[in-house]
């Protein structure tokens, strides 16, 4: 389940930000902000994706790089929110 979620998130970022389906273009721990893949508006798009497509509400205080700055971080964040629900 975690692997499916991870790949869903990676596919979303690859398709919408890098315009490719090549998984090698984005490492699971690559910093989305650090690599310049996502800017502040791009981060809003990721939050929209998490809330609308993955069904997890992101609170203001949860909008930190530790939760959202890589495929693995987003995956872990979504899983922890689902477990807490």
């Amino acid at each position: 389940m975690a692997d499916d979620l991870r790949e869903q998130i990676r596919a979303f970022i690859l398709e919408n930000y890098l315009f490719t389906s090549d998984p090698d273009a984005l490492g699971l721990d690559d910093s989305l902000l650090g690599r310049g893949i996502v800017d502040s508006t791009g981060m809003l798009e990721i939050i929209f994706f998490i809330e609308e497509q993955l069904g997890v509400k992101v609170k203001d205080e949860e909008m930190i790089p530790d939760n959202l700055d890589s495929v693995n971080k987003i995956t872990n964040f979504v899983l922890s929110k689902r477990q807490a629900a």
Partner: protein, 332 residues
């Protein structure tokens, strides 16, 4: 970033020799106008704020009052103070000017209706007599920047909620009509008079991308883009501009609720933000910045990160249209 340890870091680092700076800017304005732009004077939109006021005064010093044309371009959400201060300055400088209400144009193009539709998706009760603004959140606390929509009911009640992606983009897109319509009017007059258009960002705004592409970001010359806002205030006082202008608080004058620039975009008020940007540009540590402007070291680290993030996020605002291949015959 190279860490420099020499030289004291105090608020005085932004002190300037005003006469020298004015002379340098005015000389370059004349050179650029004559050699690069081949125009006969300047058009400037005057918001009554410090930046456009100083630019107008510099333009007059550079080419004379008879070659500067001022525009005041209010709309429904403009503060009455903007036009009043614009007029005050135009009279003070002795330039020709006109006041043109862009409200009907904005209404016709859908600026207000697109914006209000998006606001009503967040606050369905929003309507006639309500006011609105957007405020930034996150940068100083180390969170990712995001925006809150604030509305005020006719009875004074304030409500606030985080903006979702679609509503945020639509409100900003609709509001950007204001800067873009203003620029259209500025270029009409520039074409009519064979003048060049002055853009009025200070260094903080220019560096951090606080402008609308093809709106207030569009211009033929930006005479104070290298000066921190604190330095722009210093020039205003040195040139003895009217007190009301020298003491004006920076606002966006774009939303119907009063909105400071630091609420909308910057992590700190401009005096502190200037010093933060200077410190970042000059390799000073977060600890030094924290000590000079009275914030915690952790907050200073967040501010540095925010400066870097905004540069990255707004890079595209600075870019010219990009070509797939160079057209080598054009070397400018």
């Amino acid at each position: 970033m190279t860490v420099q340890t020499q030289g004291a870091f105090t608020a005085r680092v932004l002190d300037i020799d005003a006469d020298k700076v004015i002379d340098q800017i005015c000389t370059r304005m004349r050179e650029i106008l004559a050699r690069d732009l081949s125009r006969r004077g300047f058009v400037i939109a005057m918001s009554g704020g410090i930046d456009s006021s100083v630019c107008a005064a510099l333009a007059v010093r550079a080419v004379g009052k008879d070659r500067v044309y001022g525009l005041m371009l209010p709309e429904r959400d403009s503060s009455g103070f903007s036009t009043a201060r614009g007029r005050l300055l135009a009279e003070h400088l002795g330039i020709k000017y006109e006041v043109f209400d862009i409200g009907p144009t904005l209404a016709a193009i859908g600026c207000y209706s697109w914006r209000d539709d998006a606001i009503r998706r967040v606050f369905p009760e929003y309507g006639e007599g309500w006011k609105n603004k957007i405020v930034i959140s996150g940068g100083l606390e180390g969170r990712l920047n995001h925006f809150q929509l604030v509305v005020q009911a006719p009875n004074g009640e304030i409500k606030q909620q985080r903006l979702g992606l679609r509503e945020y983009l639509q409100i900003v897109a609709a509001t950007n009509f204001k800067q873009r319509i203003r620029k259209t009017v500025e270029y009409f007059h520039a074409d009519r008079l064979n003048y060049a258009v002055i853009g009025t960002p200070n260094r903080l705004e220019y560096d951090q991308g606080f402008f609308v592409k093809n709106g207030d970001g569009s211009a033929d010359i930006k005479p104070i883009a290298h000066l921190y806002k604190t330095q722009v205030y210093a020039l205003a006082r040195h040139m003895k501009l009217p007190e009301d202008i020298c003491n004006a608080t920076p606002t966006t004058d774009t939303y119907s609720l009063a909105q400071g620039q630091d609420e909308f975009y910057f992590a700190l008020p401009y005096q502190k933000m200037d010093l933060a940007l200077w410190a970042y540009n000059n390799g000073r540590s977060p600890a030094e910045l924290a000590s000079v402007i009275g914030i915690s070291e952790e907050q200073a680290q967040h501010v540095f990160r925010d400066i870097k993030a905004k540069r990255r996020a707004t890079k595209y605002l600075h870019l010219r249209p990009l070509l797939v291949e160079d057209v080598k015959e054009l070397d400018y």
